[in-house]
Amino acid sequence: MRCYLTSLFFLKKNEPRDNFLKMIKMSHVYKVYPTQIEALSDVNLEISDGEFTYIYGASSSGRTTLIRILYGAEKPTRGEVIVNGMDITAKGFNKIHLLRRSMGIVFQDFKLLRDRTVSENISFALEVIAYQKKEIRKRVSEVLEKVGLHQRAKDPILALSAGEQQRVAIARALVNNPPLILADEPTENLDDQMADEVMRIFTDLNQKGTTIILATHNKELIQRYPYRVIYLLGGRVDLKTKGEQKEGE
């Protein structure tokens, strides 16, 4: 539902109504780096609003490139990408900051400010998009509750375990209440117990309607938390071997 509201601003006049229901649509997307390495080749995929989807692939399969394209850090060499109603490949598209406000991004290396506290790291995300102080305090407190870190709000980041740091990163991604979460290997540096904590947060969010796209190469994780999987092999969506299917189908 939230996705539809933001889409209203960005959907083009004659765009099919079907796009309205899609959180992500990639059509014939290619990415070739200047070194002539082809990271993605003719990728076509659709992810609906409220879905939990894994992007699964080994190293160099193109999954990080795919995630980076989705949040506008990379431009595809060719093809069309629509995220949350915004055609980010359209000529002259210059609303990357608005695109990023409509999503939360979680990284393998957390990307936290190491010289600040837990709550400062989260409130920073709202400060830079000019939220009022009162609203920031309220939201930070809510989101810390959600990830179970409300007791550690004033602790410096370096005093936290890796799993807790990742939960702070998730809290930061959630604080703006986005309809979409992109997570690039969020459990990679965590032990099983911490990974489970993180996955439980994602599952909870998804159940409340947030679209989750999680890039991973961890088969075990997919087996423990079975959702739709998009397999990437050598930069292509691998339909021949496993296909784009629901785990367990």
């Binding site: 900051h97 406000r101 990307k111």
Partner: protein
């Protein structure tokens, strides 16, 4: 909106505070460069004022040919008064000229003993209107005076005016050439310091981008930082220049101090100070613009 602007300014100050030493060194370098530039401005300004004072006192003396009949002198006096730009004309007879010489010699007036007034030529002392007391317009009046054949010689201290004008011109030229080089160096220094600042805040900027900070929010504090560096550096330069001038004035030899009574040495007027400050700020802004262009590309 007010909150947003406040936030940008606060962020700029936080950036400066967070990278205090690189910022202080940049402010110091800007101060030294601007001190050199404003020193030249001060010298050129004072030479210019000196020329203005001198031009205000300028008087044209037209010497008449000996033996010019008195009737002709009267007509000439009338015609000279009619020339545009002339305020007043006074006839100085040979007797007046001798009297003037005697008064100038004071106790040594006996040196003039035996000298007949007839050897001194009669002359016109011509006072010019204020707006005509500059080298270009004086030359116009001189050329009109030269049309009267009764004048043997016309003096107005042209050499002095020309020499001083050339000196001021040279000062201005040096100021702008040297200033130009210093300004380029300043832009280079400011942009490099800001690159260091940006580099030190790489993680923070990356997170700002990830969470959707607008380009204005990321770039404007950097521009403000450059602007403030320029302002503080130039302000410091002006302050140092003032101190230097005061110290110099205190330690001037008494012979030169006497000169400064007649030709006062001024500090830069507020409008020039303001221009220099704005110039410094614009340079800072330009330096920060270059730094952000090199390091911050939209969408990274």
């Amino acid at each position: 909106m007010k909150y947003f602007v406040w936030h940008l300014v606060r962020r700029a100050f936080l950036n400066i505070k967070g990278n205090l030493y690189p910022n202080l060194s940049t402010v110091g370098i800007i101060a030294i460069s601007m001190l050199v530039f404003s020193s030249f401005t001060l010298i050129a300004f004072n030479l210019g004022s000196f020329i203005k004072i001198w031009e205000e006192k300028i008087e044209v003396v037209a010497y008449l040919k000996r033996g010019t009949p008195i009737q002709e002198v009267e007509t000439l006096l009338e015609n000279t008064r009619l020339i545009e730009g002339i305020e007043s004309v006074r006839y100085i007879s040979p007797f007046d000229a001798l009297g003037f010489l005697e008064s100038k010699l004071g106790g040594h007036k006996d040196l003039l003993e035996g000298i007949q007034p007839g050897i001194l030529p009669p002359s016109f002392e011509i006072e010019l209107k204020k707006e005509y007391r500059n080298s270009t317009r004086i030359k116009e009046i001189i050329s009109r005076l030269k049309r009267f054949p009764q004048f043997e010689e016309i003096q107005f201290g042209q050499e002095w005016v020309d020499t001083f004008s050339a000196l001021v011109h040279l000062m201005n030229l040096t100021q702008w050439i040297l200033g130009g080089l210093l300004l380029i160096a300043m832009i280079f220094i400011i942009s490099n310091t800001l690159q260091l600042t940006i580099s030190a805040r790489r993680d923070e900027i990356e997170i700002m981008r990830i969470v959707g900070a607008s380009p204005i929010f990321i770039h404007v504090p950097i521009y403000l930082e450059g602007l403030l560096q320029g302002l503080f550096g130039t302000g410091l330069a002006i302050f140092l220049l003032y101190l230097l001038q005061e110290i110099m004035m205190l330690h001037l030899p008494s012979s030169i101090q006497m000169w400064t009574v007649k030709i006062p040495i001024h500090f830069l007027p507020p409008e020039i100070i303001l221009q220099i400050l704005i110039g410094g700020m614009l340079l800072g802004l330009f330096g920060s613009f270059i730094a952000s262009m090199r390091f911050l590309r939209y969408g990274d």
